[in-house]
Amino acid sequence: MTFLEFLKTNHVFFDGGMGTLLQAKGLQAGELPERWNLSHPQIVQEIHRAYYDAGSNVVTANTFGANALKFSAEELDFIVRAAMENARLAQAQSGGDQPKFIALDIGPLGKLLKPLGDLEFEDAVELFAKTVRLGVKYGADLILIETMNDCYETKAALLAAKENSTLPVLVSNAYGEDGKLMTGATPAAMVAMLEGMGADAIGANCSLGPKQLSSVVEELLECASVPVLMQANAGLPKLDGETTVFDVKEKDFAEETAALMQKGLRIAGGCCGTTPSYIKELAETAKNIEIKPISAKNRTVVSSYTHAVEFGKGPILIGERINPTGKKRFKQALVDGDMDYLLGEGVAQQEKGAHLLDVNVGLPEIDEPKMLKAAVCELQAVSNLPLQIDTADPKAMECALRCYNGKALINSVNGKKESMDAIFPLVKKYGGAVIALTLDEDGIPATAEGRLAIAKRIMDTAAAYGIDKKDLIFDPLAMTVSADQNAAKVTLEAVYRIRTELGCHTSLGVSNVSFGLPNRDAINGVFFAMALQNGLSAAIMNPYSAEMMKTYYAYRALKGLDENCADYIASAEQWIPAAEAVAAPAKTQEEARPALQQAIIKGFKDKAAQLTKDLLCSVAPLDLVNKEIIPALNIVGEGFEKKTVYLPQLLMSAEAAKAAFEEIKGFMAGGEKAAGKGPIILATVQGDIHDIGKNIVKLLLENYGFDVVDLGKDVPPQVVLERAIALQAKIVGLSALMTTTVPAMEETIHLLKEQAPWCKTVVGGAVLTKEYAEKMNADFYAKDAMETVRFAETVL
């Protein structure tokens, strides 16, 4: 009988703690337990056998920390082989007559992934893959990925397991007392991602006792359509004189775990502090508990690294602004590789109330797979909203889905064979819900009936790939009502019938309906309300649109989805114009010019932007820059140098100036680009992950009109050199915060001096001094951002 066959009709008992028992046998703190597979095989075998004797169906081989970060390739091979052999011998020696299996155990790598730490996602996948391949080679029956406290690392491990084996994979996370992972994910978010990627069971282990884990397990049971597992600790460790003891004893542990098995927990074992006697007690206590069938939950869910968003609980707003179509300023930013602009759009839409962000960076002149991947990674560093990945290029889609942290919404598939052939395998592999457009080789049917027929065909094809209809969100296509008077009616009918006849969710790009009409917002808002009333689940929309947001809040209040109308009331304030704003006449040029200077000096971002916008109607852009913005910046900069202005104020002014520049850029986008000075390359050196200082320098340099190319943090010397040569940069600025990374800075300077001798180097950072900088052969040491600006002015 295979493990999965056994799981189908039985409760499965795992083993308990290994580390605690090895320590009792003499394993020293700081010593790697995996080496004991080779040095003390009998002890490891005895522990495994004791668990089998106690009634465990599965023992986890002693490979928790067996990875290529801790061991050489050769030693890793020996360790995994010995670990499997130890488990196999124990299995043969045990007298227990229950079915017995061996799991390859995979624990965390002990490093945080980027952007929080320094480990690349793909490197993590490869590290896990090495262990997985050895586990397969040496005969594991299944893989247990456990104690993972980060969503992204869990994804890397599961991806590695799926790409390198056909074994069943069980995935278990370590939840804290707040019911979340250390990096913030809820159980619902983990279920969404793991189930989408094909985990065979999902669960919780370590960190807490069974009682404290019960709310997490209950949430898992509520969300998961696969078996749920739990391996709790024997409570919390406490110091009893010299030794550590755990505060939950066998009987309580067994009863508390069994209580969860009554509720549907299918796989149970123990973690830290538990011993064979805990498992024996558990197997005994739970032996007569009836098996609860695993039911499909039919929830349509997408997730980020913190939370899940479920369709059907209320209208879902998908912000559409990250899309270059028809936006000159956005196109310019993409071509320039100016990611900050895109990130700003993401954060602003979240603040306006979007639940998901659509991400589209498709432009003919850019490398879309590379750009989309970068956009997804960077957006996930500034926003915790789930993303809707929007591209027509399957290669770009795969790049983005692979690096996405969570379960993405995929935009889109349609009824064409070519589209389904390209997209469905990606959905199956990486998980995801997918927007399905009801069009095919013959175009968009004119009737609701026709669109429904395509939807059905898409459903059938998806099913053939093993993709459930719950992960299909149909978009029956909002067509322009000014071109066809029946267009809106047909779409609304299709929405209704897909929801009621097919039981699927729907989404619409609402604003298409008003194309070609004046005051489009009015049409959009009403059409949105009508669609919601017909069962629409989500809209791809502009969160800045007042009418759309009014409809959203009003609909929820009227549908009883907004307790005490609280959200509606809170949102209403912004629609009632403040009396003074209405009364205040627009400022004249004479009033606005000094006001702009003041706004920049005081650091009022929004005011600076608004005044610039007003002034651009009557003043030439260059005039504004040279006569207002730069003088204001100089006043603040000189104040900083004289120590009458401090760093926070300097930055606030710089941001206000940047907001003014942003208006000017928007005004001039597409036209002549003002010749900037530069370029200047900035980078935080290899090994260093702190880039606050570098970003401050960047902001100020940009405000003073320099073109800055920011290479980011942890940048290898070779990369700095390559870019310096490619761009013929006259200045490279390097930042380092830690003494340990100064050698990397020195090496970078050395390379530049040798191979890009025209290039001046300026260095800064907490640990540097003028003397240090000279010793490293840097051209200039800047003690703060203003000094860098002054230096750049002398060079360029």
């Binding site: 580390g19 605690t20 320590q23 020293q28 703190a29 700081g30 965390p108 002990g110 490093k111 945080l112 952007p115 929080l116 730490g117 320094d118 104690t147 406290n149 804290g176 707040d178 250390m182 990096t183 913030g184 370590c206 919390l236 460790p237 406490k238 110091l239 030794t243 550590t244 830290c272 990611m339 900050d340 990130l343 954060v347 960077e378 560093a381 500034v382 926003s383 005081k602 650091g603 009458t644 401090y646 760093l647 926070p648 104020q649 930055l651 606030m652 710089a654 941001e655 090994g687 260093d688 992950i689 702190h690 880039d691 606050i692 970003n695 401050i696 902001l699 830690m738 003494t739 340990t740």
Partner: protein, 192 residues
Amino acid sequence: MSGSLIAKIEPSAVNPAEVLRYAGSKGADPAVEELLKECIAEAQREFSYRVCYCCLPLQIDGKDCRIGSLCLRSKALAKTLSGCSEVILFGATLGVGIDRLIGKYLRISPAKALLMDALGTERIEALCDAFCKSQGCKITPRFSAGYGDLPLAVQSDLFALLQCEKKIGLCMTDGLMMSPSKSVTAIFGIKE
């Protein structure tokens, strides 16, 4: 000796003046103070204070400080711990939330990033102070890897002893930096 313990510690309330000091501000500016208020309100729910610690016997032999199975060679540390026969080794972190906020504002508002960064520094110091205080008043100042002549490289040993990754989600980069970044590991002695 089997693993470190978890301490449940809450630091004192945020001290805005201290945050501004870390941000390099000496004078009070109403606009900056307003911005800091916003930062505190946003960051407050993102702090996840976690501390793990071990209590270990200490033997000092010249420059060698023997702490459990670990031997740290440092004159400055030996001086700090002199007269103690027991030390507490601890790791403390604010979790990833504040790093995410700093990272977010680095891209869209460096002024806020600077204040968030300073706020994180103030919070982790307050957390360490609260933990040390909870261990009684007869303690030495705390001492971290990289102080004086104690090499930063011993950070790896401290991490292994404390099991920081497993206990409090604190990891180390290849360059021996801590992630989450607003974290501290340190040793202090308990005076007789």
